[in-house]
């Protein structure tokens, strides 16, 4: 598997258009780094770079958002789900009679009912299969077993209690290393009687072995990147509305990828795709958890189809935490090699992925371990080899992302921990060690040993800035003084490289659907516009930032542009919003569609001004005659003419659509520095300061970027210190409420200090990169490194995240510090 962008191939359509933001394209051009956010439009237009207040906010701050549970249709029924109390058990019998006898209960749907229609199994997004409802056995705790349809949510919940299921418990496999033994086969529906799902390798094993054989220093560490859950504050849900008279199925659904889901529903159900309308309303957070199709969605749709009435299904929090797709759960054995000068030369990783009962990741299909192969990180090393196996266990299907681009968090946690460990072992300051080993600015575009071509970067500048912001040398002095007094203070660094914006159609697809994305812009006669996209915001602020991209390109005020997403009947086809792909793909499509409009506008302007097109030049919001700028036509005048006075022979109207197929991914990066104080009595870790310097290329809206980074940092703090989905030996989930699964509050979350450098993407039309997930990826190792840094002198080499007080206390006890 390689993902090189072939520079000999024709460049993308982007090259055909003016490209004022992107850095010069060329295989060896060094992209310069700046700090100033570039603004080229006045505030009334509010193009790129403006700190524009979000256009979507007025409805949310007044409680007028429209989320899935706010949708109420006439005659609507409610669905609730009977779930398994066992992680692995045969189903002997399901008795629905008592439930069906209850007033207000219309139906109880079981696996056998679905089997009659061939709908009891469904494909996962990774081309594995997953039960919708079981006919033979259950394979995880809280698995969906039967669904009750009733006239109210209370009656549905009552009826769930009346469905009697006889189970015969089977042996449970919780430990993925035990799953490798194949003593208990979890998926006996499959031809091959094994728990192994896939094996995957990347890199050059022989070259890596050779590098290790000659290395002066090697560090080795096992680490577990634990199972976590996105726990968006809104759970998942659906309102399915089948109209028997028209044959149309409307699916209001909490989905991050409405178009792809429509296609999947069409293929699975046999309903014609034009009779399926997926509407993704306002979404209360997604973070990857609303990419997959869960059994509840399918049964809800089937119920509406069978009954001919609207049916609503809303998960409760325990269902959400216990049964929806999880993230992470990677077991890694990593080795890092360095030469005698402290230069990293090689990386070797053996991984085991615990996928639960199905490979239900939402990765691009050619990437079973997602983009984990970014694991050489920000360092210029000679060789790397990654070796991965994946297994089934008796846990819910996974693994989706948790605000992360397909397994990049696991990779970054590993390489940043290993780099820190090597620095400490060699007694080199971790900052100095990173500076020494970074890929140099003039090495971009950089080809990594695992096949990536990093588009642009300047890692030294980002780390230097973070060190300046936090006062690194002073902190090291303070640490030395405190250590002399027996106080535990640590400073941790993470200098990460992200890989986002999947992706080029050559290599990236989900279930065969290529991972382009789209924008359609229509300019109305009065100069106002509507723009529709194949993505779907879940809080990222697309209604504002997409409008700013179009405002930048066309000079239409961002406030005059309505942005719409999430209705498959109106929006152009796209793969949706996850993995920080919206700006790299649909954001690029917005710019490209606007440039098509601008090209047509030029012809109309030439016609109106009675000049040759070549005599015109663009200025912010108008085409003007070169040398006599008083002769000009604004975009609004041109829009009016497009409907009232367009040149004969030209199509009327002013609109364009673009399906953007990116030539490469984008590689945002950053350097984070965290300062922690550790209580030696209780093991509690307090994040005292945290500086994050991010580089996401050109910035569309600094306010929104700051918000994305702050939010991602708290979602990075969470798995570093608090969150883990835990199972007992019987496969029972012990973290099924928000009282057990600890999300950080405003009290645990520190006051984030953020800064930026700007190193544009050379291939993106507006020079931007994705940003929403960088902080989630970059923060955990900074925190983990800080804790280990505080304890290193006591002999502590590593603590797995989440670094709970108990783990720290135990480490201190093992070190003989506490009794």
């Amino acid at each position: 598997m390689t993902t090189f962008h072939d520079p000999t191939k024709p460049k993308h359509v982007a090259d055909r258009f003016e490209n004022k933001h992107a850095a010069p394209v060329g295989s060896s051009a060094v992209v310069a780094t700046t700090e100033e956010v570039r603004v080229t439009t006045p505030p009334e237009i509010c193009g790129m770079g403006h700190r524009m207040k979000r256009k979507e906010d007025p409805r949310f701050i007044q409680g007028k958002g429209r989320y899935i549970d706010d949708i109420k249709l006439p005659g609507m029924l409610y669905m609730d789900i009977v779930r398994s109390p066992y992680a692995h058990a045969k189903i002997l019998n399901i008795d629905t009679s008592a439930a069906l006898a209850m007033p207000g209960v219309l139906a109880v749907i079981t696996g056998k009912d679905l089997a009659a229609h061939g709908l009891h199994w469904m494909p996962t997004l990774m081309s594995d299969t997953q039960m919708v409802l079981p006919t033979e056995k259950v394979v995880y705790y809280a698995q969906e077993v039967a669904c009750v349809i009733a006239t109210s949510r209370y009656i549905a919940a009552d009826a769930v209690e009346q469905v009697v299921v006889d189970y015969e418990p089977l042996d449970v496999v919780v430990d993925p290393y035990k799953a490798l033994d194949d003593e208990v086969i979890i998926r006996d529906d499959k031809e091959l009687k094994t728990n192994r799902i896939w094996h995957w390798e990347v890199g050059d094993q022989a070259a890596t072995d050779a590098v290790f054989a000659n290395a002066a220093h090697v560090v080795k560490q096992y680490m577990h990147i634990p199972r976590i859950h996105v726990a968006s504050i809104e759970t998942c849900g659906m309102v399915a509305n089948y109209n028997p008279a028209t044959g149309k199925m409307q699916l209001y659904m909490t989905t991050q990828a409405p178009h792809a889901i429509r296609t999947v529903f069409a293929l699975v159900s046999g309903l014609p795709e034009h009779k399926i309308q997926v509407i993704s309303p306002d979404i209360g957070g997604g973070f990857g958890g609303k990419v997959p199709v869960y059994p509840g969605y399918v049964v809800c749709a089937v119920a509406s189809l069978l009954i001919g009435k609207p049916v609503k299904w809303i998960e409760d929090r325990s269902e959400n935490l216990q049964a929806d797709s999880f993230a992470r759960d990677y077991h890694l054995e990593a080795e890092l090699a360095a030469d005698a000068d402290g230069k990293i030369v090689g990386l070797r990783v053996n991984g085991l992925a615990d996928h639960g009962c199905a490979d239900a990741a939402a990765n691009p299909s050619k990437f079973p371990a997602g983009l984990f192969s970014i694991c050489t990180g920000s360092y210029d090393l000679q060789a790397a080899h990654v070796n991965f196996d994946a297994v089934y266990t008796n846990k819910p299907p996974g693994g989706v992302a948790y605000r992360c681009s397909f397994r990049v968090t696991e990779a970054v946690q590993m390489i940043e921990r290993m780099a820190d460990m090597m620095a400490h072992d060699l007694n080199i300051d971790p900052a100095e060690f990173r500076m020494k080993n970074f890929i140099k600015q003039d090495a971009f575009p950089y080809k990594s040993p695992t096949g990536w071509e990093y588009d642009s970067g300047n890692y030294h500048a980002a780390l230097r800035k973070a060190m300046d912001m936090i006062g690194y040398e002073d902190l090291r002095r303070e640490q030395a003084e405190k250590r002399a007094r027996g106080e535990l203070m640590g400073i941790g660094i993470s200098s990460f490289t992200e890989v986002v914006g999947a992706g080029p159609s050559r290599d990236y697809d989900i279930l065969g659907i290529k991972m382009f994305d789209s924008a359609e812009i229509r300019i109305h006669p009065t100069g106002k516009a509507i723009a529709r996209f194949g993505t779907k915001s879940q809080g990222q602020g697309h209604e504002t930032t997409y409008a700013q991209i179009i405002a930048e390109e066309l000079g239409l005020p961002a406030n005059d542009i309505e942005v719409e997403e999430g209705d498959t009947d109106t929006a152009p086809y796209g793969l949706g919003t996850y993995a920080s792909r919206s700006t790299p793909t649909a954001g690029a499509a917005a710019a490209m569609a606007a440039r098509k409009i601008k090209a047509k506008a030029k012809k109309i302007a030439a016609h109106l001004l009675e000049v040759n097109e070549d005599d015109l030049e663009w200025d912010v919001n108008k085409w003007q005659v070169k040398g006599s700028p008083e002769q000009a036509k604004t975009i609004q005048e041109i829009a009016f003419a497009a409907y009232t006075n367009h040149p004969q022979g030209m199509e009327a109207g002013l609109e364009a659509t673009d399906y953007y197929d990116p030539p490469n991914l984008t590689f945002p990066f950053g350097s984070y520095i965290c300062v922690v104080d550790v209580d030696s009595g209780t093991g509690e870790v307090k994040v005292r300061r945290f500086v994050a310097v991010d580089d996401c290329g050109n910035i569309i809206n600094p306010l929104v970027v700051e918000g994305q980074i702050h939010g991602g940092l708290t979602m990075g703090l969470a798995p570093a210190l608090f969150e883990e989905i835990v199972y007992d030996e019987n496969g029972q989930c012990l973290t099924g409420t928000l009282a057990d699964y600890l999300l950080p509050t405003a009290v645990e979350s520190p006051k984030w200090e953020t800064g930026h450098t700007i190193t544009p993407s050379p291939h993106h039309p507006i020079g931007a990169k994705g940003v929403g997930e960088s902080p989630t990826v970059g923060a955990p190792p900074a925190i983990a490194n800080a804790v280990v840094d505080a304890l290193w002198h006591l002999g502590v080499r590593h603590i797995d995240i989440p670094i709970t007080p108990e783990k720290v206390w135990q480490a201190l006890r093992d070190a003989g510090v506490t009794e």
Binding site: D69, I233, G285, L738, A739, L743, S749
Partner: protein
């Protein structure tokens, strides 16, 4: 299931409805009164998305029965603005980017409103503790704190203007 007739004031308007004894206040507000700005996030009093004001104090309406609110005055997010004029908190959340997906926002604003009623000039730490019963998964809280500081300053300034 026994039914009860309850009368209460919601956002200044008196309502009388018949409810089942077990009906949760949040379902009464959302389903019976169709005030869907109050959200449900956890069902267990952990997340605060369902926070409303009951007789001037914040409660998590997912763990209060509607019958317990009989005779009470309830305020929800829909009652916070003064007609078309946004409350300083709403303005602050918009101005300072104190929200992203918007799902926790109504509950967050209700908690902040209660905080500022008790403590018009809170420190940053007091603000953080004041909203510690409300979870936000998107913002990282910094900008929510700034939004509340914005509102506090604006409300303080309005107090100081002589009538």
């Amino acid at each position: 299931m026994s039914k009860h007739t309850i009368t209460l004031t919601v956002n200044g308007t008196e309502v009388t409805k018949e409810v089942e004894a077990r009906t949760l206040l949040v379902h009464f507000i959302r389903d019976d009164l169709e005030l869907t700005g109050t959200h449900i996030g956890c069902d267990t009093t952990s997340c605060g998305a369902c926070t409303v004001m009951l007789n001037g104090r914040t409660v998590k309406s997912c763990t209060v029965f509607a019958v317990q609110a009989n005779g009470a005055a309830i305020e929800t997010i829909e009652g916070v603005a003064n007609g078309a004029t946004l409350h300083p908190l709403q303005e602050g959340f918009w101005e300072k980017h104190g929200l992203q997906c918007g799902y926790c926002t109504p509950g967050m604003i209700m908690s902040a409103k209660h905080l500022l009623a008790k403590n018009p000039n809170p420190t940053e730490e007091e603000i953080r503790w004041g909203i510690s019963g409300n979870l936000c998964r998107c913002t990282g809280y910094n900008k929510i704190v700034e939004a509340i500081q914005y509102a506090a300053a604006k409300m303080q300034a309005a107090e100081e203007v002589p009538a």
